[in-house]
């Protein structure tokens, strides 16, 4: 199944996943050291999804993101230093400290913004797809959201309209099983959210969200469908978050059903398993991995330093940017 992938592509997958992994670990460190105002929702464990999906996009495409959005932003090539500075509420951040972790936007990368409201971004990304159709460009939009957002009204409204009008969009569900503490299986009869696609008359596919190759292959199909004017796809990626809902959430609720739940998902770590497989298949050597990891480590440490060194915004900044 990996035959179609060049070495550069495979290296690219790992590079992006490892960058997300190390970025999020450093964010967690900031929290533990008490350096971070507020909270953050970590993408640890879900790296294969944003990596695989965004690798199927062009630089002109749009993505809509969520409260758990750092991974999506890294996958689109957002600057690590500006992201990290924003998470610390610093002047050097993407929004100069006005947005924080949940509201990082990088329009120059087609990132319509992370979003603090569950399901809030789904119609916004759908609107971006409408623009592409309206202007007749070949752009598409991707809307990332969690399984629990599929129980919000905006999910239904957006998928209905996108399907009715064949809008160029891919809806990517990151099904990590939990909406904060509530197990999706306790509040939703439809275990596979992808099944809901039938109700909108669009394809719904289930993907192993721990396997970057599987995600990328599915995304390529869905992106092709969208770009060729055939309308949206609902793509459900089964995944798991290593940490709780946000930093500081001990996630005790996950032990109820299966005490080994987390461990069994971690055995399928998207970053480590990919690396092991590549070494085993002799596609990428351990030495090459080490070099790559060292480079990424340097990038992440540069971003950390940039964020720490960046000053806090002047209090007068609170009164700017209310209107365009």
């Amino acid at each position: 199944m990996d035959k179609k992938y060049s070495k550069e592509q495979l290296i690219g997958f790992y590079e992006t996943m490892y960058r997300m992994r190390r970025f999020e670990e450093e964010v967690f460190e900031f929290y533990k050291k008490g350096m971070m105002p507020g909270l953050a929702h970590l993408y640890l464990g879900e790296e294969a999804i944003a990596t695989g999906v965004c690798a199927a996009l062009t630089e002109n495409d749009y993505i809509g993101s969520t409260h758990r959005g750092h991974g999506h932003l890294v996958a689109r090539g957002a600057e690590l230093g500006k992201m990290m500075a924003e998470i610390l509420g610093k002047e050097g951040g993407y929004s100069r400290g006005k947005g924080g972790s949940m509201h990082i936007m990088a329009l120059d990368k087609g990132i319509l913004g992370a979003n603090g409201i569950v399901g809030g971004e789904i119609p916004i990304a759908t609107g971006a797809a409408y623009t592409a159709k309206y202007l007749g460009t070949d752009q598409i939009a991707v809307s990332f959201f969690g399984e629990s957002a599929s129980n919000e009204g905006t999910f239904h409204e957006s998928l209905n309209m996108a399907a009715a009008w064949d809008l160029p969009i891919v809806y990517v569900i990151e099904n990590n099983l939990y909406g904060i503490s509530v197990d999706i299986r306790d509040v939703t009869k439809t275990i596979d959210i992808a099944d809901r696609a039938k109700a909108y008359g669009i394809p719904g596919i289930i993907v192993d969200g721990m396997d970057v190759i599987a995600v990328h292959q599915a995304a390529e199909e869905a992106v092709k469908r969208a770009r060729s004017g055939n309308g949206p796809t609902l793509m459900e990626c089964k995944t798991y978050r290593w940490q709780g809902h946000h930093v500081g959430d001990p996630a005790v609720y996950r032990e109820r059903r299966d005490p080994n739940e987390k461990a069994s998902w971690q055995e399928r770590c998207p970053v480590d398993c990919f690396k092991d497989k590549m070494i085993e298949q002799k596609k990428i050597s351990e030495k090459e991995f080490k070099k790559l990891e060292d480079e990424i480590e340097a990038q992440v440490q540069t971003a950390v330093k940039f964020a720490i060194d960046s000053p806090y915004p002047d209090p007068s900044e609170a009164y700017t940017d209310i209107f365009a």
């Binding site: 929004s95 100069r96 913004g113 916004i124 759908t126 971006a128 623009t131 209107f323």
Partner: protein, 324 residues
């Protein structure tokens, strides 16, 4: 000058702006084939086609959210909500998304979107189709709030709204749609934040919004016969607010009455009174007065509805009391 129905003046503004700028489009319930529930877009579907004049499903949050996405990606959408009460159905997209994206993004993004929506009581539409939401909308930073009076004002202000780079909530009073007005042959955009002194007077200042401007003008004509000279200010926009015009007028007249149809509690009268108090306190010859809808839901029966909403008679009685 020529005679025109208010609803046709709205239609002309939309038509002229769509003709001027092909990024302007409209989406809403029943706006296309039947030309709008209140006939404000008759003929525009035929002229501009389905993509620019989009009949939507009944999905208020979805269409406002799509409007946000379109606005972020280069279009200038006009979203029609059939009744302003439905702003609450779409409230997350209006208040948490549209109003805040420019700020949360540190000024990277702008949301040039107009939400056009009918306001006000007087049609026995009862509690869910008669409200005046301008005070509530004005409460949230990041929204511009427009309350036009006559057909001329509505046309000029709507043109400005469509050209503005921010989310604008544009309230059309539903009791005016079928009324005839005189209008200039060519109506230029009317700047926001510049109140219009529609009648000069020396005894009392009435600051009015929307239909209350016409009612205040009627009252002023009648009060003149009793020897009371009323100055009437058409506020035009609540955000931004022309407080200088109010202050200048009140310093001259010594009295201020605010007439607005929203509920009295936390309403426009309370806001204007508190806002200008520091500047006018020593000029006042009577306490600041307000006429608003009392804090009850809008009732169905005309026997109940008309007695509670602002009227010419109520304005006359209140002015006379303030002149005692």
């Amino acid at each position: 000058m020529r005679e025109i129905l208010y609803r046709d003046a709205i239609c002309e503004a939309i038509d002229e702006e769509m003709e001027r700028d092909d990024r302007v489009m409209m989406i809403g319930e029943d706006i296309g084939f039947i030309g709008g529930n209140f006939k404000t877009s008759v003929g525009l579907l035929d002229k501009y086609g389905d993509l620019r004049m989009k009949d939507s499903p009944i999905s208020e949050a979805g269409i406002v959210g799509m409007g946000v996405g379109m606005a972020l990606t280069g279009l200038r959408p006009i979203v029609e909500l059939m009744f302003s009460d439905f702003l609450l159905v779409a409230a997350d997209q209006v208040v948490n998304q549209a109003a805040k994206i420019t700020y949360m993004s540190g000024g990277q993004a702008s949301v040039p979107m107009v939400i056009r929506t009918p306001m006000g009581a007087g049609r026995s539409s009862a509690a869910q189709h008669s409200q005046s939401m301008q005070a509530m909308m004005a409460h949230f930073p990041g929204l511009k709030v427009v309350v036009p009076s006559t057909a001329q004002e509505a046309k000029g202000l709507l043109k400005t709204a469509i050209r503005d780079n921010n989310p604008v909530i544009f309230f059309e009073h539903k009791m005016e749609y079928s009324n005839k007005f005189m209008i200039d042959d060519v109506v230029e955009p009317i700047p926001f934040g510049k109140a219009n002194i529609v009648r000069e007077g020396t005894d009392i200042t009435i600051v009015a919004t929307s239909s209350q401007v016409m009612k205040s003008m009627d009252a002023a004509a009648k009060l003149e016969k009793d020897g009371i000279s009323v100055e009437v200010i058409d506020l035009r926009t609540i955000v931004p607010m022309d407080r200088d015009a109010i202050i200048t007028s009140v310093k001259k007249t010594g009295r201020l009455l605010v007439v607005d149809e929203a509920h009295e509690k936390c309403g426009i009268g309370a806001e204007i009174g508190a806002d200008v108090m520091d500047d006018v306190f020593y000029y006042l010859e009577a306490p600041i007065g307000r006429i608003a809808t009392p804090n009850v839901p809008l009732p169905f029966s005309p026997a109940l509805e008309f007695p509670i909403i602002p009227s010419v008679e109520k304005i006359i009685v209140k002015v006379k009391k303030m002149m005692e």
